[in-house]
Chain length 476, copies 2
């Protein structure tokens, strides 16, 4: 099969040297490793189709890969152990064409391998935005962002990736291409299959193209870094802001002092507008495409009133675009800084807003009792009820656990403890990171069994031989 | 089985008298009739579950019904002919409880039988809106609106029903209840099954409950009835409005003169702000939850400039809430007036905005050539690229066709002709009305065969014995 692939794809399209395959078989944080027969780098949808057809006809699994920026090992191929056939990694790096920009219809059609930052640039060039904003936007690819239904800081206004996708092109398990790139706003002709693939983590097919929704770029903006006493006050402030300025809220992010300190410790060139790090930090963006609005004045009035009422302890309202960028540079440096700080066991809790403070409070007590070695770090897309509760273990402590098995066991212990807290409050253990290979056990443990059964039926309908990203979601 | 159902549901819960069943086995326009063993009127999800279990265990099909306001006979049960077992209509009329209103999370949890107008009232009572607006809102039920992924005049701002649903509770074919009413903004724990049921027209299960998203109510508004020369100018005006006022566009509706005249002919008490009916009419609403905006002044300036440029021929900007309501009363009277005027063969075309004028132009020529007996009526959610192109046949002409077969053949002839025009322009033949029993042939004819195949696989995964609304979508 590898010889056939070589013939089909040419020298640029296939990697079989172990050293060259290395970046494609390990996750970006270097925590999980798989194995592969070869890495396929197709240039077109037709090449993906042909490669998938060859592989699955031979019973060889296919592991789709975008920018490899995930946190749940969803792009790491199988280990090649017993019952775990080595397969093909299909990395879409070379499929990076912007296919069409339709400014009137506010649609951008792209190859799945287009990097998010490039999509941002292309949209900005026509006065539009593709409003998906996250730390990895310089590497994350559109196909991966769709497959994981990515979140980020724009969700509070625009929704997750699901809401930004107007159509997908997918190579199915048998190599056939299911294409829906018409980009219609409405189409009630039966089941909307694109929603099957969004968030499916490559288990139903390989996304090769997509139509993305564009939105008007912002012409009025106001950005602030605000300090509050605790998460409960942060939520009260959010409610007040929603009552007063709901259509303008573009981002509403909560960071613990520990999180801010880590960023400043490891990422050079960051700037803090306060003398000392506040206990709880809110980074808030208001924005509108309406250039006539004075959101700066509006925000100033709002914050002054909140300060008067004791809800805000201190605040810094950016006076320039540069100052605004400085605020958001801190927010977007967190993945990088956290990786340097230690080994973070990152929880990705989703919970109704009204219960987010209670979650943090309950989790804090549990963490202090059970995991005293870890520092507690909180970064939350609070506007979405999404709390990244992180137990940050020192590198030394983590290595001192001895074996990979011991480390995995510790990580599992942390996850189970806090996932249970979330579940007891009606929340979910994966808001935006997905399941990957990391949380398959938790999915089985916490998912409604009927829902789990229906998911396996859907999987079987699309991929009866379980050759599309096996091991992801379902764990086998 | 009927005896068991009687025992189970009590006298209020079951209808078996043919005369009493009548309103449940005929569509509201009286065009299609089915037959049923009984009509089940369950009071709870548990009763739906028990009834479905009894029916499907006995091989008896189930026909879910909401407000019976559809245009494609999706709620009409099977005819009971050969290969067409009579079944149970399950009408959710008695399941009309608002289960919870969570103002902080902006969520309303309801029984599926809640009537849309009631949901509107409940949301308004807490300063919120459930932004789904259509002519049948006084009878349409939430479950039906979800099952058909309903559209209406609010889609341009808030999206179709799919975008307003945060969770569903569904009775599956075997009677088990799949419930996801947590109402989380984010939840990436595998496939998002709710999207399977949205727009599935009852073919995958019976929706019994839902969580709806609420939005802030509007505190600034401006409404206008504007006349333009032709659809192309209407689209140019839309583009200008999007550049200038995108976040405020709440509705953008286009009506032909013929459509306006029909409304005034049949519905008493309507008021027209012009001396004579304009050739093409736009009804536009701007709105924002921001009460500080003066959208009236803003709209006045915009329209004055468009008038100067010759883009707008005449315009009436509502000076009061009462005047605004008068404009929208005309828009919402169309289903009623069209039913009285004649027999309308209603096309429900979806097309990229940029091609809507071309579609109307091409269709007009085709209609004049092939169907001279019909008057052409256009009502379009132009902001969504959704054109209801209607061929209005006089009642006399239609009856004169003789048999029901001849009438069906004529309707099919019309549909095929104009669906082909839409398809040639990259459009869809069903934007918001769905497929029902009416368009199953067109779905087979026009749907990508691979997509059709994957839909049948999905159907089989959820309903292997084809007992959930058989005959709808797939035609058998």
């Amino acid at each position: 099969m590898v010889a056939e692939l070589q013939e089909l794809l040419g020298p640029k399209g296939l990697i079989t040297e172990p050293a060259e395959m290395e970046p494609f078989v390990v996750d970006w944080r270097g925590r999980k490793r798989g194995t592969a027969l070869a890495v396929v780098l197709p240039a077109t949808t037709e090449e993906v189709s042909a490669a998938v057809r060859l592989a699955t006809a031979a019973g060889v699994p296919v592991f789709p890969q975008g920018g490899n920026t995930g946190l749940c090992y969803g792009t790491v191929p199988g280990s090649g152990g017993p019952g775990n056939t080595p397969g093909l990694v299909i990395a879409l790096n070379r499929m990076n064409r912007i296919r069409e920009i339709d400014r009137t219809a506010n649609l951008m059609t792209v190859d799945a391998g287009v990097i998010l930052a490039n999509a941002h640039e292309e949209a900005a060039a026509v006065g539009r935005q593709v409003p998906m904003y996250l730390g990895s936007e310089g590497s994350a690819q559109i196909g991966g962002l769709i497959s994981t239904n990515a979140g980020g800081t724009g969700v509070v206004r625009y929704g997750p990736m699901r809401d930004l996708v107007a159509g997908v092109e997918v190579v199915l398990a048998d190599g056939r291409v299911l294409s829906d790139l018409a980009g219609l706003k409405k189409n009630n002709t039966g089941y909307d299959l694109k929603h099957c693939f969004v968030g499916a983590e490559g288990t139903l097919g390989v996304i090769t193209g997509a139509v993305l929704r564009m939105f008007p770029e912002l012409r009025s903006e106001a950005n602030a870094w605000v300090s509050v006493k605790d998460p409960a006050d942060a939520l009260t402030l959010l409610s007040r802001l929603q009552d007063d300025c709901d259509p303008y809220i573009q981002a509403f992010e909560l960071l613990s002092a520990s999180q801010v300190d880590i960023a400043f410790r490891h990422v050079p060139g960051l700037r803090m507008p306060f003398e000392t790090t506040p206990a709880w930090n809110l980074m808030i963006e208001l924005g509108s495409p309406d250039g006539d609005l004075d959101l700066h004045a509006r925000f100033e009035t709002f914050l002054a009133a909140a300060y008067e009422d004791g809800l805000v302890e201190d605040g810094f309202l950016a006076q320039s675009k540069a100052q605004a960028e400085e605020i958001w540079r801190v927010r977007h440096s967190l993945s990088e800084s956290n990786k340097k700080e230690g080994v973070g066991v990152v929880l990705d809790i989703s919970i109704r807003n009204s219960r987010a403070a209670e979650f943090i409070h309950t989790a804090d007590r549990g963490a202090a009792d059970a995991f005293p070695e870890a520092e507690i770090v909180v970064v939350s897309h609070l506007g979405d009820g999404n709390v990244h509760y992180i137990l940050m273990f020192p590198h030394d402590y983590w290595q001192g656990l001895g074996s990979e098995e011991a480390r995995d066991a510790k990580a599992d212990e942390v996850m189970v403890a806090f996932h249970d807290v979330a579940a007891a409050l009606g929340g979910s253990f994966s808001a935006e990171h997905g399941i990957g290979r990391k949380l398959t056990g938790e999915l089985q443990r916490l998912c409604d069994p009927l829902r789990y059964e229906m998911m396996t039926r859907m999987k079987a309908a699309f991929d009866p031989d379980n050759l599309m990203n096996p091991g992801v979601l379902f764990g086998n």
